[in-house]
Amino acid sequence: MIRKIKLLAAVLFFSVAANAQDTVKVGGINQDAENFYNTGITYFANKQYSEALANFNQAITAKPDFEKAYYNRGITKFELKDVQGAIADYNKTIELNAKSDVAYFSRGQANYATGKKDDALNDYSKCIENNPAYAQAYYYRGGIKFENKDYKGAIADFTSAITNKSDYMYAYNDRASAKRMIDDYTGAITDYKSAISIDMNVDFVWNNLGSVYRKKGDYKQAIDAYTNAIKLKPTALYYNNRGSAKYDDGQYQDAINDFDLAIKIKSDYAFAYNNRAGAKIKLKDYKGAVADCDKAIQLNSNYGEAFLNRGIAKQMLRDDSCCADWKTAQKLGVADGKTYSSTCD
């Protein structure tokens, strides 16, 4: 069985704004730079980024070694989608203060945004070197390690994040996910539950908990967890997952009902059509299964699993074209396609 895991869409929980350097005291002598700088921060707080940028520029013109102004201009450029400009300002900040933690952290964010994951990872490491209590740096470095399939490394970082920030709900969620990836389902469940105990209103944590229960073969608990996710946010994805748990539990008609709801919410959701076909196969509704697979394939012509399932249904309908479907599934990377088509003439 192939499962696709989508990471949560762009959630930057630690707004870079929160990391804007503090305002500076304006003294008696010429402090134009500081004045511009402070005005820039006010604009930044009001999300008036262009105005903020103009003030930070003037601050730097007035005081070319103004480290904090470079940093704040960097985060302002980041907000204005000028990532390269932001990186240049972070570089300057680091040049002026090699012990800066935030500059490394923010450059890590910017590097990640441009796809330079290795550079980002190094930046987070430098940030941690400068400030071993920087929980967010551990957290984001853990995320990169997760993406690099270094799940044990990721778990270690998420653990450090939690050590430095005991109510770090997302770190609990992500550590649970990393544990899931190394088949430590019991550990994953404990962590998801810890995340829920911190905040029980985060839908995707409930969903993730359901998926681990499902992997563990505890379908009833999985269905309950998915139901909680649906109550918080009734998405096609959650209905599709709950339907799959019901399918695993042998509740084929109830599974179909959930896939129906998923399709109602998202009519182009190929996964739900494919999965509904699976449940229909179990209920011996082979024609219905073929129709659902047809739809899934229409939505995604490279959907190997749907070809495989359609072949299964066609075989039971004594339709010899099942062999062609299995061969297509094989070409699209579904290993069982080869096994099944080997029985064809």
Binding site: M1, K4, I5, A10, D174, N207, F271, G278
Partner: protein
């Protein structure tokens, strides 16, 4: 009020319906003539009923007429139930037997047994067990050991059935249609390994001699044949004499992989203790069946037999007491040095039981034996089982029930399997049949193919890129026999005339002839089954022709494949060239490997058979390596062959050796296959 009225009205009628009504005048005062007819019908029916179960079908119409007149007679309902139970419409028996019991619970001492049988056949397991248990009590009271044992066995069968139906095997079972099946019984179908020809037994009015066996109230058995064209079995025909004999039972027992040799059951003594005969097709004509020797045939009933693909072992069933465990058992016998079947040996207690074992079939893989048995964990009657021979331990595996719905509580028998393992054929009586027993095809679907689900999760709170997780599914067993079917047509290279040639199969590793076969003289067709795990040398020989050799190295991991190889034999004439495909040298050396012996011996035999023959042995290489090296290597190899022949007594002046290196390719040097073909040892006839 209305409801109460209907209830009151119905209740007295229901009481009346439970009363046994005898065929007596006082019960039918105003219907004397009809009563007389009914009694006559019962008497006529009884006349058939009293003969044997074979005549129940003749009794039934009379009983039905009498029952139309009086449906509430316990004994008549009981008899009708028994008639149906012994017919193709067994499902109809239940109603009559249940009514008979209701009308008179002691209508017959064995009423519980017959009720149990109907429940058993309709797979109402718990009801069947309960009725068998009631019959057990009766048998105990009657002190009847046989009844007691029978009921006990049937209860075990029901328990087996309960288990087996929980895990049905995935198959399609189809009646193979009216080109084979008819209202008469058809059974015992056998097929060639490639499913191109089928023979089966039937009792039709077209039987040779047209006679009826009055003991069983049916026509004599004859063998029929059909061919598969474009995926369909064409209209079957009686194979006629001499395969079939007049007014005797001729039943097909097995056919060789190439469809050219039949083993036939012939009721030659007309006393039910029939024997096994062999019948061969030569040049397109079926010969007279010949009785197998006394190691196979005894004074007892040899019901069937089959021969292993290498032709060296025969498996047969017999009810002879010597070496048997009870009823029919499976025996085997091996060909001795003189080509005669040796002393029979029982397959032993692992396979044979105190009950019937019958309908034995050895698959073209040479190691899987299928048979029907009433023993082991049968769910009722004969069930089909399989056992696999382990060459290492020299033992047969524990017989495995082929499962429901292949097996049922009724007779499931005469199972055969195509070489590919995709289709089985067997005999069954089913509601969708053409009448009586029919031949059915089983299409094996393999283990259940689980649908693959697709799911997504939001695993990381912080990141956006989706990660596809791949969970590798457990493998699904696909049972593909590990064997290669080699088939084709052997013809004269010039005239294209089909040839009856001998095909010699050699295990190159052991330099042993495994088996010899013959192509059909009228069609030139041949078919050889090659189980995986050997390096085979194949020599095609025909008098007046140069032999042709092929090499097949089939690793143990190979699945099923069919290879078509047409062979054109060349006349022994000057200039003919033959590639010796089973001559092997050590890599880059001229040392002959031991696997070459059989091929070299064939060459020696040819030279001895035609003492005037002079030949040139030539060595050839592919294009890899330097020209000089290739010339030297091919020359040394040709000389090595000549030296071998001389050492074996062939005169030196009849032999010439030459090395041509890469100068005379017979194939492309751009493909692996072409390179292999170009590396060869060849001989050419210089004079004869």
């Amino acid at each position: 009020m209305k409801k109460i009225f209907y209830t009151l009205l119905f209740f007295p009628l229901a009481i009346v319906a439970q009363v046994n009504v005898e065929f007596k005048k006082e019960n039918f005062k105003d219907r004397k003539d009809e009563l007389k007819d009914a009694i006559n019908n019962i008497e006529n029916g009884d006349d058939f009923f009293g003969r044997s179960t074979a005549y129940y079908s003749s009794a039934l119409p009379f009983y039905i007429k009498a029952n139309d007149f009086n449906p509430n007679n316990a004994l008549l309902n009981f008899k009708i139930g028994l008639c149906y139970l012994h017919s193709s419409f067994k499902g109809k028996a239940t109603t009559y037997l249940e009514l008979a019991y209701k009308l008179n619970p002691i209508v017959a001492p064995d009423i519980h047994y017959w009720l149990a049988r109907t429940y058993h056949l309709s797979m109402e397991w718990d009801k069947a067990i309960a009725s068998y248990q009631k019959f057990l009590t009766v048998a105990k009271e009657m002190n009847n050991t046989e009844f007691y044992q029978t009921a006990g066995k049937k209860i075990t069968e029901c328990k087996n059935g309960k288990e087996l139906v929980q895990k049905p095997v995935r198959v399609f079972i189809d009646n193979i249609g009216s080109t084979v099946n008819s209202a008469d019984p058809e059974y015992g179908a056998v097929i060639s390994a490639d499913e191109s020809v089928m023979m089966f037994t039937s009792r039709r009015n077209t039987t040779t001699g047209g006679g009826m066996d009055i003991e069983i109230n049916q026509h004599y058995e004859d063998i029929y044949i059909t061919y598969r064209k474009n995926g369909q079995w064409i209209t079957s025909v009686n194979m006629g004499e001499p395969v079939n004999t007049k007014n005797r039972h001729d039943a097909v027992s097995s056919v060789s992989a190439d469809g050219q040799t039949l083993l036939i059951y012939l009721d030659d003594k007309k006393n039910g203790s029939g024997n096994i005969y062999i019948c061969e097709n030569k040049n397109g004509v079926w010969g007279k069946p010949e009785k197998l020797n006394k190691n196979i045939n005894s004074d007892y009933h040899e019901s069937g037999a089959c021969i292993s693909p290498d032709g060296k072992t025969i498996y047969f069933t017999s009810d002879k007491p010597e070496g048997g465990l009870g009823k029919h058992d499976i025996f085997m016998s091996k060909l001795d040095e003189k080509g005669k079947w040796g002393a029979p040996v029982s397959l032993g207690t692992g396979i044979n039981t105190a009950y019937d074992e019958d309908a034995v079939f050895i698959h073209p893989d040479g190691k899987t034996l299928y048979f029907s048995s009433e023993g082991h964990n049968s769910m009722g009657g004969l069930d089909v089982f399989k056992t696999v021979y382990d060459e290492k331990t020299k033992t047969w595996s524990k017989p495995e029930n082929m499962g429901y719905p292949i097996n049922s509580p009724d007779q499931d028998v005469f199972f055969v399997l195509s070489a590919s393992g995709k289709h089985g054929y067997y005999t069954s009586i089913k509601p969708d049949g053409k009448g009586d027993a029919d031949v059915y095809m089983i299409t094996f679907l393999g283990a259940e193919k689980p649908p693959v689900m697709s799911n997504e999760d939001n695993l990381l709170a912080s990141l956006t890129a989706p990660i596809k997780e791949t969970v590798v599914m457990q493998k699904v067993d696909v049972t593909v026999p590990q064997l290669t079917l080699l088939k084709g047509i052997i013809t004269d290279a010039i005239t294209q005339k089909p040839l009856q040639a001998t095909i010699e199969l050699v295990d190159n590793t052991k330099n042993e002839i495994i088996a010899t076969f013959q192509s059909n003289g009228s069609t030139g067709k041949y078919l050889v089954s090659l189980p995986a795990g050997k390096n085979y040398g194949i020599a095609v020989k025909c008098e007046g022709y140069l032999f042709h050799s092929e090499n097949f190295d089939i690793p143990l991991t190979n699945g099923y494949q069919e290879v078509n190889k047409d062979v054109q034999l060349k006349n022994v004439k000057v200039g003919s060239k033959i590639v010796l495909k089973n001559i092997f040298f050590d890599t880059d050396k001229s040392t002959l490997r031991s696997e070459s012996t059989a091929e070299l011996e064939r060459l020696i035999k040819l030279l001895n058979d035609i003492p005037t023959l002079k030949i040139e042995i030539s060595g050839h290489t592919d294009s890899r390596g330097s020209d000089d090296h290739n010339l030297k290597l091919s020359d040394a190899r040709a000389k090595a062959v000549v030296d071998y022949l001389v050492a074996k007594g062939i005169s030196k002046d009849r032999l010439k050796s030459a090395g041509y290196g890469e100068t005379k390719p017979i194939d492309s040097n751009d493909t692996e296959e072409g390179l292999q073909n170009n590396r060869r040892t060849e001989f050419e006839i210089l004079s004869k």
